[in-house]
């Protein structure tokens, strides 16, 4: 597996900036929705073996709430908005005035509201990326799941599964105040999207 061998530091920085811009806009959108400041951690760009990706959210068996988008257009990929079930309940309460039931699972209305919140955030994430790169990127209809992180995330790795055993992950965490994690964006671009992103940003390709 050497898809990523030539991704030297400079290119990683470019991808970090890509994550930064996308998530910065999404954080602003979330902050407007919640009417309070939302901070953002410096994005992490990592090439990770599949096994390790679920560790980013607490291990393969950790229960997470995930809104998944297939990104279509010139630079396709997979986008996850991931949050803890508690953070999901908090969002529902503050945004939609829904007092989440005591039950462990989300009912249909709650699920629909959460998908919509994810949709708004992913929309702002992707549209800022599209503006920045001049590449079209549009999210598909969101899919929502609350389940084991491993089961959810490996769905986003199928594209990579055909290529090798590592994926490139652009990981951005939203913070409320200093610690409380509101959610995480994982962008996993399809392998063929990298060259397009680099090219459109004027990064010389090493192969040329």
């Amino acid at each position: 597996m050497n898809l990523f061998d030539d991704l030297e530091g400079f290119k990683m920085d470019v991808l970090k900036e890509v994550g930064n811009i996308g998530a910065g806009n999404a954080a602003t959108a979330l902050s407007q929705l919640l009417d309070k400041p939302i901070d953002m951690a410096v994005p992490k760009v990592q090439i990770l073996p599949f096994e390790k990706i679920a560790d980013k959210v607490g291990g393969p068996e950790q229960i997470v709430l995930a809104v998944f988008f297939r990104v279509e257009g010139e630079a396709p990929g997979n986008l996850f908005f991931i949050l803890t079930p508690e953070a999901g309940k908090g969002l529902l309460h503050r945004l939609a005035g829904i007092e989440a039931s005591e039950e462990e699972f989300f009912n249909e209305m709650e699920q629909s509201a959460l998908s919509e919140i994810g949709n708004i955030l992913a929309g702002s994430y992707l549209s800022s990326l599209a503006d920045f790169t001049q590449l079209s990127m549009t999210p598909t209809v969101p899919g929502l799941a609350m389940d084991m992180a491993g089961a959810i995330l490996n769905y986003g790795l199928i594209q990579f599964g055909e290529m090798g055993d590592d994926a490139l992950l652009i990981d951005t965490t939203f913070l409320e105040g200093k610690e409380e994690v509101e959610g995480q964006f994982f962008l996993i671009p399809d392998p063929e999207s990298f060259d397009k992103i680099f090219k459109s940003l004027g990064v010389p390709l090493t192969d040329d």
Partner: protein
């Protein structure tokens, strides 16, 4: 138990075996399939965490044979027979192959879970290995483990709780 139990972990796109005593486990199966083979006579259990149906699509020089249904099964059978398993005694159980997200539209990638299950069944048939039980499909993730003494496959999921096959 005084002795520490022997737990063998099978990662994503990985396979392994456990013999005589212990448990073999894989966590967080979504659209992947956890394929287990078992030979009761020698208490040997094998497990593969299959990610994709066929290695035909592999575009890479280096092939991870545990990743694809068509290559993982032969390798698992080979490993087990090398440890004394008999082809005629091996039986199979499997779980996973869920569709984690539902979309009205979407190409073949969207139904990778069912395709993994179909592929595993096809190759089991080719190898004439009987499939004793399965817990596949639906839309939730599973963690599975097999006890190599009993050959029971334990399945845990967030939505459905515990199950035994």
């Amino acid at each position: 138990m005084i002795e520490e139990q022997n737990i063998v972990k099978v990662g994503m796109a990985d396979l392994n075996v456990v013999k005589t005593s212990g448990i073999i486990r894989t966590t967080g199966l979504g659209s992947c399939v956890g394929l287990t083979l078992y030979d009761k006579n020698i208490q040997l259990a094998g497990m593969a965490h299959v990610m994709l149906p066929s290695s035909d699509i592999a575009r890479d020089g280096q092939l991870n044979i545990a990743k694809y249904a068509d290559t993982a099964l032969p390798e698992l059978v080979r490993k087990m027979t090398a440890l004394g398993a008999s082809r005629s005694r091996i039986v199979a159980k499997m779980a996973g192959g869920a569709q984690m997200f539902n979309f009205s539209s979407g190409g073949d990638h969207m139904r990778i879970g069912p395709r993994n299950v179909e592929a595993c069944k096809l190759f089991l048939e080719e190898y004439k290995i009987p499939l004793l039980a399965e817990d596949t499909g639906a839309n939730y993730g599973r963690t599975i483990e097999m006890d190599c003494i009993s050959g029971i496959l334990f399945i845990r999921s967030v939505q459905m709780g515990k199950k035994e096959l």
